[in-house]
Symmetry: C2
Subunit: 242 residues, 2 copies
């Protein structure tokens, strides 16, 4: 098997109401079995998930958490996007979002907005966004909506899947055995997250290449949209690190 | 930029003392700028990092943690490979290893051993193992030694880099700006982990394809071996989730 990942070049700046599917389809020839990875920020912008900071009045808690380092209006937006704040330390806020994702700043992005003084939120329903995009793309490729998340015990960020349509989120080898008949150790591979990471490697982080086409994974691409990225979220009841 | 990832086929079962570099080089034509990703288990086996459970006497703590579900001899090996046990719950042991990695069972692998009743440990010095392998491979490709790690808040495992030679572990965009001149949010990308994840997508988990060649990342491949995967380990002092 050979996997390839190629960035789609020439996409314009995306704004609310833009037809992302048409913009992608006019720049790349998609094939059945492709996986189209889309940085969430262009999905969020197309969906109008942008907040003007001038419209935000920070709460007392936001003012407290912001201290002298952060814009309290940004912290206020982070708090509104958080179902729980897990850690707030050294200028870092680690939140659980309404989707159940655990990430810095509840995914609120202070860069990459279309205008100064705006922040970009995560899509309300990234799996729904992925399904909608898939339905509009030629050849019905799988769609993965991605964001860069930090990790508790490792430096740096890696891209993960926020929304998925048509790709197995997990490749389930549980119960399967290795070449010698022994049960496998790594038995439940988060393949959609690995695909998001592969896409990250080929796109410029200056936001001009938010879309990457990954080929060679048709064994993981399915006709139905599948369970989505919600299947990747570990339930709070199983969280060992609350 | 196009990234490709292709598994090396036809490698034999690896045992202690095998010349991994020669076995790889005879099966794939390597080029400068390639990244050779190697599942740690074959590195560990070549280095003799294998323990026969018949030689292990479980301690009282191992017997306690094993309960009725786990082999107390395996738990004993896990404890010996752990510098700290962070969580032990529901049959899962999350450890910090001597290298500083936080992972399940201190990376001790009960499958994929050459013989029944053996377990495979992580290499003692994965960065050193990567450097040694790089030095022996034609065209001096970068080398990444990988393992599958779970994540605190997401289901499933993804492959990460345990040892690195000749590849930038992190792609540092801190201080750089986006297309509009705004500071970037995701500024410190753990590219070596993303490469490990991409490699995982193309190799069979039945252990017959432990080696994957990734192309198209020569911008991240460097002449010197670089800081290694140790640069990816978040120091305990910065750990928010102890």
């Amino acid at each position: 098997v050979t996997l390839t990942a190629t960035a789609v070049v020439g996409l314009p700046e995306i704004g609310e109401g833009d037809d992302l599917a048409a913009l992608i389809a006019s720049r790349v020839s998609l094939e059945a079995g492709d996986v189209v990875c889309v940085a969430h920020k262009v999905v969020s912008k197309a969906e109008g998930r942008v907040v003007a900071l001038s419209s935000v009045t920070p709460s007392a808690r936001a003012l407290d958490l912001a201290g002298s380092e952060k814009d309290p209006r940004v912290v206020e937006v982070v708090l509104r996007e958080s179902s729980a704040v897990l850690r707030a330390s050294r200028g870092v806020i680690i939140s659980r979002t309404a989707h159940g994702f655990v990430c810095a700043n509840a995914g609120v992005d202070t860069s990459n907005a279309a205008r100064d003084g705006e922040v970009v939120l995560l899509p309300v329903d990234p799996d729904g966004s992925a399904r909608a995009l898939r339905a509009l793309l030629p050849s019905r490729p799988a769609v993965v909506i991605t964001d860069s998340f930090g990790r508790a015990w490792r430096h740096g960020q890696v891209d993960v899947a926020l929304g998925i349509a048509g790709l197995a989120p997990l490749d389930d080898w549980r119960g399967r055995v290795d070449a010698r008949g022994m049960e496998l150790r790594a038995t439940w591979l988060a393949v959609a997250d690995a695909v998001a990471g592969a896409a990250e490697l080929v796109r410029g982080k200056d936001s001009r290449e938010p879309v990457v086409v990954v080929r060679g994974l048709s064994r993981l691409v399915c006709e139905d949209d599948g369970p989505g990225a919600v299947a990747l979220v570990r339930p709070v009841a199983e969280d060992l690190f609350l």
